[in-house]
Amino acid sequence: MIEILEKIEGEAEVEYSFVSGEIKDVVVRFPHYRGIEEILQGRAALDALVIAPRVCGICGHAHLQAAAMALERAFGCKISKKAKIIREITRFAEIIQNHIKWFYLVIFAQLHIPYDFRKVHQAIVLANRLIALFAGQSPHSSYAIAGGVTCDITHVELLQAKAIVQEIEEILFDLLGEFDEKQLSKDLAKLFEALKSKNLLQIGKSLDRFITLSEDSVVKNVKILHGKRRKTSLRFVQERAFEGSYAKGVLYRGKFYETGPLARMMQMDLPFIKRLHRRYKDSITTRIFARIYEAKLLLQIIAEHLDQIDLNEPSYIPCKVVDGMGYVSIEAARGSLIHKVAIKNSKIANYSIITPTQWNLSNGTKENPSLLQKAIIGLRDREKANLVFRSFDICSVCTTH
C-alpha cells in the first residue's frame, strides 16, 4: 500500500507496509531531482551565492547563509560581529515564519482545529517583512556575501525592526497565550485537547537521540545520547544512498539522530520542554510544542540582538577568492543544514549539500531503524502515521536538490 503525501513543500512518497492491521515497515522516497550540486560544479566560486540558495524557497535564507559561510571558511575570511548578528536576525525570522506556518497550516489543519487565519497570516507577513528590512526581499534574497552582509542599516531600520518584533510578539501572545504546561490557554490548549481527545499524546516516540552540528547564539554543536551530551564534529557525518530515492540518508557515527527544533530545545534546559519530555518523551506532543516554543524564543533573541547591534562596525570585511575547502553547518528551520565546498583555481570543484530532512527521514534497517521508522512502526492507523510523519516538518523541496 503506497501512501502519497504532498502536504507542504513538494512531494515525498511514503510507503507503509501493513501486516494484520499494523504498520511493520515504512519507506520514504523522494522521486524528484534537479541536480543543483551538478550545476554548481565548475562555476565561478561566488556563483554559489546565487545558485545554492535556490535549492529551496522555504528556507532559502539558511541556504544563502550556509553558502556564504562555506565560502568564508574556504577563503579563510572573518565577518564582523554586526554582520553575524544581522544574519542571525534574518535567519531566525525565517525560522519563526516557517514554524507559525507549519503549526497552523499543517498541524492545525490536519487535526481539524479551527484557527484565526488572518492573524496567523499577518504574523507570517510581518516576519517576512523583518527579513526584507535587512535582506531586501523574502524569499530568495542575496544580501549575505562572503565577508559579511551588503546592507548598511541605520537607526531607522532598527526602530522599524523593533516595532515589527513587538507586533509579532503581540500576535503570538494573542494566539498562543503563555507557555505554561500547567495552564495552557488559547490555541496551545486547543492543540493539547485535540491530541488528548484523539489519544495522540504519546504517539510518534522515536529514538530519543538529538543532534545539532553548528554553533550560534542559541545552540551548541552537541548530540544528546542516553541523556549525555557530547560535542559533535562534521567529520563523523556519513551519507548513505537509498534505492529508488534521490535523497541520501544521513548518519552520525553509524547512528541516526533527530535534528530540528526539538533537538535544539532539548539542549537548552528549558523547564517547559523538559517537563513535556519527561512526560511524553520525544512524541509528537513534545515535538510540536518544542517547535512553536522555538518561534517565541527566537523572537526574544531577535529583540535582544536588535539592542546589541553596533552600527559603527563594518558590514563587510574584505574577503578574496582563494582556493580551499569549506565544510560548515547552520541551523535552518528543520535542523542542521550542511554545505561543503571545494574551491580549485577559483572555481567550484565540488559542492555538496545535506539538508535537515535527510536526517529525520532516512531509511534505516530493521536493526538500525531511522527516526521516522522508529516513530511510525507499530501504529495501526494511517491517519496517525501521517500526523507523525508531518510532525517532523518535512521539506522535500530541499531534500530533492
Partner: protein, 408 residues
C-alpha cells in the same frame, strides 16, 4: 562613450512601453471591460466569501480599497478612469477559478504569494480568488488531492487559469520526476491539466525559462512551460521569486478584460516587464552622477551609491521591482545594498549569476545588434550594446571622479 549616445540609448523610442494609446482605444476598452464585468456578475461565485464581507471584517474603508485599486490601475498602465472597473474586477475575482501546480521547483513562488503584500491584498488573494487546487496550500493530500484536481478540471473546463510553478524536465531527467501513484511525468501532468485551461500563467523563472534547474549542464533537461505547451495562451511572470503583485495583476487583468495582458516576445506582460530595473531605480541618480560603489562596504556602499560596478544587472533586466518592491513594499534587493542579479531574465543563471559587471562578462557583440530595439526584440544584441555602453560610462566616470578629487 559620450553623453549623447548614452541619452540615445536610454531614451530610444521603440524601447518604450506605449502607455498612452489614445482616447479612442481606451473608450473602446472601457466598453469591453464593462460588458465583461456585467457578464461575470451574472455568473455564480466559486467561493462564498465576498470582498465586501472581508473588507467589513477587516475594518478596511472603501476609501482604502479604492486607493489600492487606483494603484493597481496605474500598475496595469490603464488611465485612472478605469479605477472603478478595477475595483469591481477585484470584487468579481471569485468568478475566475485558479489551479496552481508545482513541478520542478523550490516552492519559492507559492511562498512569495503566501507572504504577499499590499494594503489587504493578501486577503484578496487568499480569500477571494478561488485557488481551486494548489498542491502546497491545500489541506488534502495524496489520492484525495488527485480527486480534487480531477473535479476542478471537469467542473471548470475551459475556464480556469492554470498557474505553473517550476520547470519541466524533458531530457535525461524526464523519468526522474514523477507525480502521484500513477507515475505520470511532469510533462504529461502539465499537458493534461493545461488541455482544459483558459490560459496558463507560468510563475517564476523556472516555469518561464527553465530557471536554476536548467543551468549548465542542465542535468535534467529542464525547460519552461512555453517549450512544452504550444496550443494555449501563455503568460510568463519570471523572477526568482515572481512578485506577487504581478501575479495579482495578471489575474485582475484577466477578470477585467477576459483577455491576457499585452505581452512582449518573451510572453511577459508589458505592464510589469516594460521597463528595466535601471529605469526606475532609486539609485539611478548616482549612476548618472557617476557615483559608484567600488568595493563592498566602502563609503559608496554606506551612501547608497550605484551598484553597477559591483555587478548589478539592473540595466539589463526587465522587471518592475524598483517600483513595486517586495514584502509590503518594505524593501527590495538593491535597497539592501546588493545589486540586481537579473533573476527575471532568461539565462540569468549562466549569463549573470554573481558579481560580474558586464564589461568583464565577456559577452560578444551580436552581429547587427543595434541599440534601436524594442522590448519585444530585446536580446543579446541590445544587452551587449547597453552593457558595453554602461561599462564605458562607469569606467569614465571613475576617472572623472578621480580627477575632481585630485584637484582638491
Amino acid at each position: 562613450m559620450n553623453r549623447e549616445n548614452l541619452r540615445a540609448l536610454f531614451t530610444a523610442k521603440s524601447a518604450r512601453v506605449d502607455t498612452n494609446k489614445g482616447e479612442k482605444y481606451y473608450q473602446e476598452l472601457y466598453k469591453r471591460c464593462r460588458a465583461r464585468l456585467d457578464e461575470l456578475a451574472k455568473m455564480p461565485a466559486f467561493t462564498k466569501i465576498s470582498i465586501k464581507e472581508v473588507l467589513e471584517d477587516e475594518g478596511v474603508s472603501r476609501r482604502d480599497f479604492l486607493k489600492w485599486a487606483s494603484a493597481v490601475t496605474a500598475m496595469l498602465m490603464l488611465p485612472s478612469s478605469f479605477t472603478p472597473l478595477v475595483a469591481e474586477a477585484a470584487e468579481l475575482m471569485n468568478r475566475v477559478p485558479v489551479i496552481w501546480i508545482e513541478l520542478q521547483d523550490c516552492a519559492g513562488n507559492s511562498e512569495a504569494l503566501l507572504r504577499s503584500d499590499g494594503p489587504k491584498i493578501d486577503e484578496i488573494i487568499l480569500e477571494i480568488i478561488s485557488l481551486e487546487f494548489h498542491e502546497t496550500l491545500m489541506a488534502a493530500a495524496g489520492h484525495q488531492a488527485e480527486k480534487q484536481l480531477e473535479d476542478a478540471m471537469e467542473h471548470f473546463a475551459g475556464k480556469y487559469l492554470l498557474f505553473v510553478e517550476g520547470s519541466i524536465p524533458v531530457g535525461r531527467g524526464k523519468e526522474w520526476c514523477t507525480i502521484g501513484a500513477s507515475g505520470e511525468t511532469f510533462e504529461e501532468h502539465l499537458k493534461r491539466i493545461a488541455s482544459k485551461a483558459a490560459a496558463i500563467v507560468a510563475v517564476g523563472t523556472c516555469a518561464t525559462f527553465g530557471g536554476v534547474p536548467a543551468a549548465n549542464p542542465n542535468p535534467t533537461g529542464a525547460v519552461g512551460v512555453m517549450d512544452v505547451i504550444n496550443d494555449k495562451p501563455i503568460i510568463n511572470i519570471p523572477a526568482c521569486p515572481a512578485n506577487p503583485a504581478n501575479m495579482v495583476g495578471v489575474i485582475l487583468h484577466f477578470v477585467l478584460t477576459g483577455q491576457i495582458p499585452e505581452l512582449d516576445s518573451l510572453l511577459r506582460p508589458k505592464f510589469a516587464f516594460g521597463y528595466r530595473i535601471h529605469d526606475n531605480c532609486e539609485r539611478r541618480a548616482h549612476f548618472d552622477a557617476g557615483e559608484f560603489v567600488e568595493e563592498w562596504g566602502d563609503e559608496g556602499a554606506q551612501n547608497n551609491f550605484c551598484l553597477y560596478k559591483m555587478g548589478c544587472k539592473g540595466p539589463m533586466t526587465f522587471n518592475n521591482c524598483s517600483i513595486v518592491r517586495y514584502n509590503e513594499s518594505v524593501n527590495w534587493p538593491i535597497g539592501s545594498g546588493h545589486g540586481c542579479i537579473g533573476c527575471s531574465e532568461p539565462g540569468f543563471w549562466d549569463k549573470y549569476a554573481y558579481e560580474r559587471p558586464m564589461a568583464d562578462a565577456n559577452i560578444k557583440m551580436a552581429p547587427g545588434g543595434g541599440v534601436e530595439k524594442s522590448v519585444d526584440e530585446f536580446g543579446l544584441g541590445l544587452l551587449t550594446a547597453a552593457g558595453v555602453g554602461i561599462a564605458i560610462h562607469a569606467a569614465a566616470s571613475a576617472v572623472a571622479g578621480k580627477k575632481e578629487g585630485d584637484d582638491k
